[in-house]
């Protein structure tokens, strides 16, 4: 359980960091990386709770929610048209 508590704290902290990174302009990629790592931790805890029969604590839930929001908002600021191979990055348009 101790490792899950640590992961829950890490997940929540990473979620908060990813939310802060939305305001970093070009470097929202840092937020995306943090949100991805935090999200993996949060999912691990949730699945472990389901398989081992314990209820994840509030921090794990907060981590999951914050990381999903962080990933979504960082992606909103970061993702240009990835669907287009060879397109000029639209980043220049909103710089």
């Amino acid at each position: 359980m101790e490792q899950y508590n640590n992961k829950a704290i890490a997940s929540m902290v990473l979620g908060i960091v990813s939310l802060v990174c939305i305001f970093l302009g070009y470097f929202t990629i840092i937020g995306i990386v943090c949100a991805i790592i935090g999200l993996i931790f949060a999912i691990q805890i949730r699945k472990a709770g389901e398989l081992e029969g314990f209820k994840p604590n509030g921090m794990a839930t907060a981590g999951l929610v914050l990381n999903i929001i962080g990933l979504g908002l960082c992606a909103l600021a970061f993702i240009a048209c990835v669907a287009c191979v060879g397109i000029i990055g639209t980043a220049g348009l909103y710089s």
Partner: protein, 256 residues
Amino acid sequence: MHPIIHFFNVAIPTFGVLFLLGTGAAFLLGVYTARKYGITTMDAMFFGLFGIIGGISGAKILYIIVDLPNLLANPETALIRLATGGAVFYGGLIGGILGGYFYTRIYHLHTIQFFDIAVPCLALAQAFGRIGCFFNGCCYGIPYEGIGAVYYPVGAYPPSGIGLFPAQLSESVFLFILTLVLITVLWKSKVPGLTTGVYLLASGLFRFINEFFRADPRGAIGFLSTSQFISLLVIGLGFLFVMKIPQQLYEKQIKQ
């Protein structure tokens, strides 16, 4: 056309907004399609999240691989270029598939059933993404003066002042229709993998044809565009799924 939405003093890329809308709609649809195989909402969501994580990572990693010579040649701008532009769609697609596969492998879930419930959601998200392309001005069509021709304003990324074929919107409409077809196939079919096969076949075939109506600069392999070449591979994979070959291999692997 409208690549940026201004919300108070914040400039938000329209493609990003539609990408998020599409992702949200896909997750909601995923909750519904997951019922087909009795998959829990949590598993369906986490599968999708792993797919997104894999997709984002894959798109970036493939970009770094493809652009590595340029990044090494200009190290002073490499960090900025890494942080800003650069994502390759097919890297995202491969990464997304691997991400989802990885999730089902870790937790011993039926991979093909999960792909079946995911493909209608993927088609829906793609449909929204293509509307984003339309607003962004990318993926534009060939010159065309007929019903539904699009005229972009001066200063937009596509050529302005001439009518263009609405290649993005035609793909979007097709993908919305395909979503409905895939949901129907999913509920009617008794064979896992058939929905995935139909998606691969239909989307690959349409993309192959639609590429002829696109005029934006993109890579080419021989006389085909990169997307057309990959579409052929996708169509081939779709055939294999319809002929149940990956399903049989998967069942064999499970038995071992």
